[in-house]
Amino acid sequence: MRNLFSPSRAALLLFFLAAALLPLALDPRGHLIRVAAMVLLFAAMAQSWNIVGGLANQISLGHAAFFGLGAYTSTLLFLKLGVTPWIGMGVGAVVAGGAAALLSIPTFRLKGHYFALATLAFAEVMRVIANSLGDVTGGPVGLSIPFMGSQPALFAFRSVASYYWIILGLLVAVCAVFHLLASGAIGYRLRAVRENEAAAEVAGVDTFRVKLTASVISAALTAVCGTVFAQFTFFFDPDSIFSLSGISVRMAMIAIVGGLGTLGGPLVGALFLIPLEEVANAVLSSQAAGLSQFAFGVILIGAILIQPRGLMAYWLRTPWAKTRRAAATGA
C-alpha cells in the first residue's frame, strides 16, 4: 500500500527541500524571510491542531490556550528565574499537556458543536486569568523579552534566518509526529473513533485513552510553537496570544483550507493563507481598519462553501495521486 517514492512523498520532500534552500535566496534579516518563517510556524501549529481536529475530528476552538501556555511558561521562567527558554519550552509542553489532560475529563464525551464550545470557553478562561493576574503575567500589558543580541543558549539570535531554521526543524518534527500517529495503531483507533465512537468502543478501543493521548500530544506540540513564537516576536499580550480569531480559528482554518486530517493539508493551507494575508495586510491596511480581517473571514466562508475538504482534495483528484493511499488519508 505504501510506495516509497509515491508522488505525494515526492511532493512533500520537494516542499521541505525548497524550504531548506529558501534562506539562501533571501536577505537573512529581511521581511520576506520573516514571512516565510511565519508560514512554517503556522503550518506547524495547524499540524499540531490537525492531530485532534483532523484525525479524531474533535473540532477544537481553544488551541490558543495551549499556545499561550507555552509562550507564558517559557517567558515567565526566563524573566523571573532566568531559566533558558530551551528548558522553558519543555516545561511549557508539559504544562500544556497537563492542561489538556485536565480538560479532557469534562470534555471527552462531547462532540461537534459542544466540544467546540467547551474548548472555546477554556481558551477564554486562560485569557481572563492572564489578564487579571497582573503581578505574575504582566496583565493586559503583556510580556516582552529583552533583546540580548545573539545568545544561542538563551534562544536569542540576531538573524531571522536562525529562527527560520529552528522553525523549519520544528515543522519537520511535528509532521513526523503526525505521520507516526496517523499511520500507527493510534491513528487507526482515532479514525475508528471519528467514524463511529460506539462501534470503536465495542471493538475494544479504549476511546477515552486514545482521545486523551491525541489531545495531550497535540497540546504539547502547540505549546512548543507558542514558546518559539514568543522568542521570535519578542512580545505578546493576553488578548493576542489567547485570541480566538487570531490563533485558535487560524490554526483550524489553515488545516481545513488545506485539507482536514491529511499530512500535507496544513502545509498547503499555510502556504496559501499566510502569504495571502500578508499581501492583504500590506495592500488593505492603509484602506480601512478591519478590511484585511474582513477578507480573512470571507476566505474562510468561501473555503467552506466551495471545497469543504480543502485544497488537498484537488491534489488527490489528480491522476498521479489517485493510485495511492486513499485509505491512509481517510476522509
Partner: protein, 283 residues
C-alpha cells in the same frame, strides 16, 4: 444580598431574550451560530443610529432593530447557512465563525472603533422599594424583554408560521409532507432568532456602550445561558438567562470585577460536561 438578587433578575431577563434567539436557531436548524452575538451588536448600532438621527428612544428603536436585523438574518440564512445545513459540524462551525469575523470587521470599517452610547432622560433615575434600589434603564429593559418573550410565545403557540417553526424543529420531513415550506421556515426561524437578539441589544443600549467588538463580551455569556437551559429550548433559555444574571451579580459581591466572567466560564464547562442536555428538561 437581596439587592444583588434583584439586579441579577433584571439583568437576567434581558440575557434570556438575547439567548432565546440563539436557542431558537439551534432548536430549528440544528446549527450552533457562533456569529449570533454579532447580530446583537448590529441591533445596538441600529438603535444607536435611530436615537442619533431620528431621536428615537432605544426602547422604541428596538422595534427597528428587530425588523432590520430580521431582514439581514433572513438573507444570511438563505444565501449562506442553508448550504451547510446537511454538512458535518466542522463546516457549520467554521461557516458561522467566518460570519462572525466578517460582521465584526464590517462594523469596524463602517462605524469605526469608537465606543458609542446614548443619553436618555431616565438613565440615572431609579425607584426605591424599602432598601432596594431599582435602576430605571434596567427595569425598562427587563419589562421590554418580558413583553417580547410573551409575544414570541404567542407567535410560536398560535400563529401558523409559529406552528410551522415548531413542526420543522420536531421533524422536518413530516413537516414537509403536511405542506410546510421548510426552506422558508428555516430562514424565518433564523431571521427571528437574530432579530430577538438584536432587540435585546437595543434595549440594553441605555446602560451598555456599543462598539464593533461588543459581541465578544456576550458570546460566552449567551452560550452559557443556552446550555444551562438546554440547547434548543426557548423557555429554558429564559430561565437560564435569569440564573446567569443572578450568578453574575452575586459573584460581583465576592470576586473582583475582572474575575466575574471566570465564574461563568467555569459553570459553562461544568454544565457542558455534566448535563449537556441542560439543567431544565422539556419545554
Amino acid at each position: 444580598m437581596i439587592q444583588a438578587l434583584v439586579d441579577g433578575i433584571l439583568l437576567g431577563g434581558v440575557y434570556g431574550v438575547i439567548s432565546t434567539g440563539l436557542s431558537l436557531v439551534f432548536g430549528v436548524l440544528g446549527v450552533v451560530n457562533f456569529a449570533h452575538a454579532e447580530f446583537l451588536m448590529l441591533g445596538m448600532y441600529v438603535a444607536w443610529f435611530a436615537w442619533r438621527y431620528l431621536g428615537l428612544d432605544p426602547l422604541l428603536g428596538s422595534a427597528l432593530s428587530f425588523v432590520i436585523v430580521f431582514a439581514i438574518g433572513y438573507l444570511v440564512q438563505r444565501t449562506l447557512v442553508q448550504r451547510v445545513l446537511k454538512a458535518p459540524p466542522a463546516a457549520q462551525v467554521f461557516l458561522t465563525v467566518g460570519l462572525m469575523i466578517v460582521i465584526e470587521n464590517a462594523a469596524l470599517m463602517a462605524f469605526g472603533s469608537d465606543y458609542r452610547s446614548v443619553s436618555v432622560p431616565y438613565q440615572v433615575e431609579g425607584y426605591r422599594l424599602g432598601d432596594i434600589f431599582v435602576g430605571a434603564p434596567y427595569l425598562f429593559a427587563f419589562v421590554a424583554a418580558v413583553v417580547l418573550a410573551g409575544a414570541l410565545w404567542l407567535f410560536l403557540e398560535r400563529s401558523w408560521s409559529g406552528r410551522a417553526i415548531r413542526a420543522v424543529a420536531q421533524d422536518p420531513m413530516a413537516a414537509t409532507l403536511v405542506g410546510v415550506d421548510t426552506r422558508r421556515t428555516y430562514a424565518l426561524a433564523f431571521g427571528l432568532g437574530v432579530a430577538l437578539t438584536a432587540f435585546g441589544g437595543a434595549v440594553i443600549l441605555p446602560y451598555i456602550t456599543v462598539s464593533p467588538t461588543v459581541g465578544g463580551q456576550f458570546v460566552v455569556l449567551m452560550f452559557t445561558v443556552v446550555v444551562l437551559g438546554g440547547l434548543g429550548s426557548v423557555a429554558g433559555a429564559l430561565a437560564g438567562g435569569i440564573m446567569v444574571g443572578i450568578v453574575q451579580s452575586l459573584s460581583a459581591l465576592v470576586f473582583p470585577i475582572q474575575l466575574q466572567n471566570l465564574c461563568l466560564f467555569v459553570i459553562f464547562i461544568a454544565v457542558l460536561a455534566l448535563r449537556p442536555q441542560g439543567l431544565i428538561k422539556g419545554a
